[in-house]
């Protein structure tokens, strides 16, 4: 397929792999965090780890929008669909995220809640137009990539003077999460999680640009290379990070130049700024309360805010005790370190959120990589 196969060329990947092996110094290791779930998925799906030398290690980051959604937020969404009997429109990935009382959106739907999977915010708006007698709530989740479309439908809803459409806003911010990880005691003081550099987000960066990462590179002396989600992008970014570390540089470099500029998408950013404002604090699964890490709807658009209209009160709910999602999202543990991984926690019956989305570290390892834990004989 044109413009896709070019970025999945196996021979070229092995060449870059040999380059990385040649340039990585044998007297040190390289711990590189891929922030985004998109990268985590690509690394597992294409077997990128097989192409890397042993001392170049990938650490999964928290950039999977479904994974970081805390139980309390899913509970609120279920409450909207059940107690307030709204039509709740949601991206398919959130359907199976475990909530309190053994529920999930999918199970709530089976019990009669009107929950509909949509591919975009615009679909939710259309459902509201088609059902004027019903309250329709769009369960908005995601990082900076999905935020502009949400802002757009809110503005459209205002222009259309819709009175039955609101947004339950759960949009979160990438830079705040990276800062939080770098500030965490595990990374800063204890040295439990060595983090030498970051593979920066692909799609998020098309919106916010490469500029916001300059602060981490400078303040925390960690190189960042923004990379696309194709396997060759990831390989090339790893090589660029190894080179920066070898040369003692900590800069923001952009591998994904075909889509990302330094300043990003100005129109999208302006739109987001018009509709949303910072929340003082927001709970992330795995990271806990992270200051200024999420968005809420501005007063000017209060009519389209589901939290205001339905008086949604947030209640924090602790994760299952056996679940290691928190540590996995912070890069402290790997999926296979978790006792419930692949036993009671599987993609069919996820205990933790990392097992839900295909971008989650556990689901990616379970789906594509777990055969590496056992030996298979050829015929």
């Amino acid at each position: 397929m044109k413009y896709v196969d070019e970025f999945r060329d196996g021979a070229l990947a092995r060449r870059i792999g040999r380059r990385i092996a040649a340039e990585a110094r044998s007297d040190r290791s390289y711990h590189l965090m891929e922030f985004c779930g998109g990268h985590t998925h690509a690394i597992s799906r294409y077997g990128i780890k097989d192409l890397l030398p042993d001392n170049v290690k990938m650490v999964h980051g928290p950039g999977c929008p479904v994974c970081v959604l805390p139980i309390g937020r899913i509970d609120s969404a279920i409450e909207l669909a059940t107690r307030h009997a709204v039509i709740l429109c949601t991206y398919a990935d959130t359907m199976r995220v475990p909530a309190s009382n053994g529920l999930s959106l999918m199970r709530a739907k089976a019990r009669g809640a009107d929950i509909r999977m949509v591919y975009s915010a615009a679909d939710a708006l259309r459902i509201a137009q088609d059902n004027p007698a019903r309250e329709v709530v769009f369960f908005a989740i995601g990082f900076e990539t999905t935020t502009p479309p949400t802002a757009l439908v809110i503005r459209q809803a205002q222009a259309l003077a819709l009175t039955n459409f609101t947004v339950f806003c759960n949009h979160v911010l990438t830079p705040a999460a990276i800062t939080h990880i770098l500030e965490s005691p595990e990374v800063r003081e204890l040295g439990i999680v060595p983090l030498d550099g970051f593979i920066g987000p692909a799609h998020v960066s098309t919106v916010i640009g490469s500029q916001p990462y300059e602060y981490f590179a400078e303040e925390y002396r960690r190189p960042v290379v923004i990379a696309g989600f194709e396997p060759l992008d990831v390989m090339q970014a790893i090589l660029m990070l190894v080179r920066q570390l070898n040369e003692g540089r900590a800069e923001v470099e952009n591998e994904f130049t075909r889509a990302v500029t330094r300043t990003g998408n100005e129109r999208a950013k302006a739109l987001v700024a018009e509709v949303f404002e910072l929340r003082r604090s927001f709970e992330w699964r795995g990271l806990g309360e992270v200051p200024y890490s999420a968005l809420r709807i501005r007063e000017a658009y209060a009519d389209f805010d589901a939290e205001r209209r339905f008086g949604v009160a947030y209640r924090s709910v602790a994760d299952n005790k056996a679940c290691e999602c928190g540590a996995i999202l912070r890069g402290v543990k790997k999926p296979a370190d978790c006792k419930v991984f692949g036993t009671v926690c599987t993609p069919e019956n996820p205990i933790g959120s990392c097992m839900v989305s295909s971008e989650g570290a556990c689901a990616a390892h379970y789906t594509y990589g777990r055969f590496k834990d056992v030996e298979v004989r050829a015929a």
Binding site: M1, L51, D123, T367, R370, V376, A378, A379
Partner: protein, 349 residues
């Protein structure tokens, strides 16, 4: 004495009429619908007898029986409709035992309000499919449910067939070393359906591959009677069917991504919908497992049939107590092709 008048019965209005509760009530309206629509369309001696069953003689040998319910939405899609699908689906299930399908039974659950024009189009398409396949629909049933309790029309078909002597095909017979073949491009049906879904319209030239495969199977069984497993990868796609074989036979598999035929349009649609063509449904493809020494002969036999023109050998069976289906990716790595989690798509076949 007055003259005996022949009853005047107003013909069923197939132009503007709609299914109503009386069409399933067991009364005159139902009898009329059966006569004017089903008996006329399927036109065969068994239905003409007007019994609630069909009696026929069968050749000696092992019989095969299969049943399949069809609940596809939308009812009509590029390349087919629920009627053709209902015929092909059951014929294929019977054929996958290596059998020659003989007869079909069809049961219709109609939703009150369904336009009779739609019903007629679907039944005509079904009759055409049965006629082309030379497998008659010899008995059937019709029920009507209230509006909101169905989805236009649900069709269940049951088929019987007979297996030629010496042929023994079952999902538990794969052995390490065996070759795995697929009869053509995968994912066409699922993507064709998806292109029409309510909240997902996109333009595509892809058509459903819905087809009856018993002709292809007959040719394959004749060329290579030692075929071990056959199955049509419908819901869940190629990935799911391979996992079923692996579990039934207690073996692993190693397939090569580069040898699996996928149309570029399907691959592109899957790319932007975030789907994997390995798990997208097919309605006119089959997967075969045979001893390695027969693989080339089987491939040649498949390729001479129109429904198998794009056939390919995609991998082999390996010994693996964990029954993993593994794939060598075009990128050069290896990964598991796991069971599908949840569902990629609701109701597509």
């Amino acid at each position: 004495m007055s003259k005996i008048r022949s009853d005047y019965v107003r013909p069923v209005d197939f132009k503007h009429g709609r299914v109503d509760m009386s069409h399933g009530g067991g009364g005159r309206a139902m009898a009329q619908l059966i006569e004017e629509l089903f008996v006329r369309a399927f036109a065969n001696e068994w239905l003409a007898q007007g019994n609630d069953n069909a009696a026929f003689s069968v050749p000696a040998g092992r019989m095969v029986m299969a049943t399949d319910s069809h609940v596809v939405s939308p009812l009509e899609f590029p390349g087919g409709d629920i009627g053709a699908l209902a015929v092909h689906g059951t014929i294929n299930d019977v054929a996958m035992a290596g059998a020659r399908p003989l007869y079909l039974a069809a049961s219709f659950i109609l939703e009150e309000g369904l336009p009779l024009a739609t019903l007629k189009r679907i039944v005509d398409s079904m009759a055409r499919a049965a006629h082309e396949a030379s497998v008659p629909v010899v008995t059937g049933d019709t029920k009507v449910v209230e509006q909101g309790k169905g989805d236009g029309i649900f069709i269940t078909t049951t088929g019987i067939g007979v297996v030629p002597p010496g042929v023994e095909i079952s999902g538990d017979r794969a052995r390490p070393g065996d070759a795995i073949l697929v009869s053509g491009t995968i994912g066409d049906h699922g993507v064709a359906i998806m292109s029409l879904r309510e909240n997902l319209t996109f333009e595509t030239t892809i058509r459903s591959d819905t087809a009856a495969l018993h002709g292809l199977v007959a040719q394959m069984v004749q060329a290579v009677p030692t075929i071990r497993c056959l199955r049509d990868p419908t819901r869940g796609g190629l990935g799911t069917t391979l996992n079923e074989f692996a579990r039934q036979s207690g073996v692993g598999m190693l397939i090569r991504e580069a040898s699996i035929p996928v149309r570029p349009e399907v691959s592109a649609a899957c790319e932007f919908l975030g789907l994997d063509p390995l798990y997208v449904a097919n309605e006119g493809k089959l997967i075969a497992v045979c001893p390695p020494e027969d693989a080339e002969r089987l491939l040649a036999a498949m390729r001479t049939h129109p429904h198998g023109a794009d056939s390919a050998i995609i991998g082999e069976i390996v010994a693996d107590p964990h029954c993993f289906v593994q794939m060598e990716t075009s990128f050069g790595g290896r990964r598991v092709v796991d069971w599908l989690t949840g569902e990629q798509l609701p109701r597509i076949c």
